[in-house]
Amino acid sequence: MKTYTNSGNIDTRSGFGAGLEVLGQQNENVVALCADLTGSLKMDAFKANHPERFFQVGIAEANMIGIAAGLTIGGKIPFTGTFANFSTGRVYDQIRQSVAYSGKNVKICASHAGLTLGEDGATHQILEDIGLMKMLPGMTVINTCDYNQTKAATIAIAEHDGPVYLRFGRPKVANFTPDDQNFEIGKAVQLTEGKDVSIIATGHLVWEALEAAKALNEAGISAEVINIHTIKPLDEDAILKSVAKTKCVVTAEEHNFLGGLGESVARTLTQNHPVPQEFVATEDTFGESGTPAQLMEKYGLNAAAIIEKAKAVIARK
């Protein structure tokens, strides 16, 4: 089984900051907006090096989304930065009308998604954002798994003409994808080959899926791990190709099972190749305060949970 090495724990939001700074140097049309969270979003380098293209809007996210939409009129490529909760639920109608329906080239970049925001608790731990964003016609939805991939995705979405939701997180996590990767929107990445079960994961759960696959392998179960960084448009071919071989699926995400990656995968399977599926996701609940590791354990979003669901889904074949 192919194995992956963690080159050192680092946060995905720093990957966003690094990618944004690369864009600042490469593309003078890239502009950035932030709602009083410049440090948290790691936008300091862009702000310092391109002050004329950085817009501090204050604690006014609705206005930020509208200004971003307006900046596209004149050829700018705006990247907005705030927490995932304030990037989506708080400004849903602004995104719907001024960005998505208006077809504006705005990149909505969202940190601190999911439970791993930790101690701040449920007011800030959005677990519904993937669903909110993927329901908007024309919106591309991306949830990256590590620093390198987040940096590559940030750079890649500037070349995509249309609205994008880019979701990443707060904690320091394993960094294991190549630093020179070519990020292709809508293209799944197969990480391991397997024949007994497909583990289709996104975001922070991808590393957990690899850890699970390792343990399953030692128990004689061969797991195929697929990293779905783009939830919409979904790489249906990659999923169907894998399940044709494995005949069962575990989906894994740091999100409510309602509206998340798992539902999108389930729809693909139902329409094309129905097979048993188990969901590693939150069960229609809010989060709470705690350390990221405690929360992921309590809400069943780690390698142990994936192993359990993998065994369960194989038994259903």
Partner: protein, 281 residues
């Protein structure tokens, strides 16, 4: 430059277009549209510099954003009669497969429209973004907007009003259609706006009061004055007092025609008060 009579003829035809559009589909918003017929006509015929060959980016052109999208009938009429699309297309207003949706949108590619509006309170933010892009592009054109007065009850406006002053967005001229009416009644009864002039001034804007918002020459004078005040570090707002339903005797002075179309008899009466000038579509 058009003469005042030419502009008056243009306005009268726009009124006919508004009335005929909403009557044909028995829906739409004639009251506010009629009240803003002079403003739109002066803005597009006399004030703004733009190309009829529509380009979304509008570089080196003045731009206009309609925030209160429900008064689409007046917007569509003036865009068509200013050359953005064929006047005949007005007969597709609110019908299936039309570019003239109930509320304006870029989605169907209608020339002259740069943002969807209808859900209220979003237009000023968008205009600030477009005005900021102009500054980045070293483009000295002006961005214009129109907002309903009731629309100012939406909080996003005040985020935008604060931002524009703090960031010296001085290539922006916002106009408030200050007719003091909204769906449920007078703005005073629904949610009093208080002293709008003092509020804008307290937020750091230059405020121009236009008491005769249905007078062509007064509108011309105020918009020209506003233009002359751009580039002075302050955003500019015109508080334009209009009469909802202006130009149709039974629609004036009431909020009853905010979102109601006239029947056949009422249409005939309304059109007789606004005789055809430039040719009906």
């Amino acid at each position: 430059m058009s003469t005042t009579q030419q502009l008056q003829d243009f306005v009268t035809q726009v009124r006919r277009d508004i009335l005929r559009q909403v009557h044909q589909v028995n829906s739409g918003h004639p009251g506010g549209s009629l009240g803003c017929a002079e403003f739109f006509s002066v803005l597009y015929q006399e004030i703004m510099n733009y190309s009829k060959d529509f380009d979304m980016d509008g570089k080196n052109e003045d731009l206009f954003f309609l925030s209160n999208g429900h008064i689409s009938p007046v917007f569509y009429s003036v865009l068509a009669r200013s050359g953005f699309f064929p006047v005949e297309e007005l007969q597709t207003f609110r019908k299936i497969d039309s570019r003239l949706q109930g509320h304006p949108t870029t989605h169907e590619g209608l020339p002259g429209v740069r943002i969807a509006s209808g859900s209220l309170g979003q237009g000023l933010s968008v205009a600030i973004g477009a005005a900021t892009a102009k500054k980045l592009n070293n483009d000295h054109s002006i961005v214009y907007t129109l907002h309903g007065d009731g629309e100012l009850q939406e909080g996003q406006n005040w985020e935008a009003i604060m931002y524009a002053a703090a960031n010296h967005v001085d290539n922006l001229i916002a106009t408030v259609d200050y007719n003091k009416k909204q769906i449920d009644g007078s703005t005073d009864d629904v949610l009093a706006l208080g002293d709008l002039k003092a509020k804008f001034e307290a937020f750091g804007w230059s405020v121009l009061e236009l008491k005769e918002g249905n007078d062509i020459e007064a509108i011309q004078a105020t918009l020209s004055l506003a233009k002359s005040q751009t580039g002075n570090l302050k955003p500019i707002v015109i508080l334009m007092e209009t009469e909802m339903g202006h130009g149709v005797d039974f629609m004036m002075g009431t909020h009853a025609w905010h979102g109601k179309a006239p029947n056949d008899v009422q249409l005939e009466s309304a059109l007789s008060q606004n005789p055809e000038t430039l040719g009906d579509y």
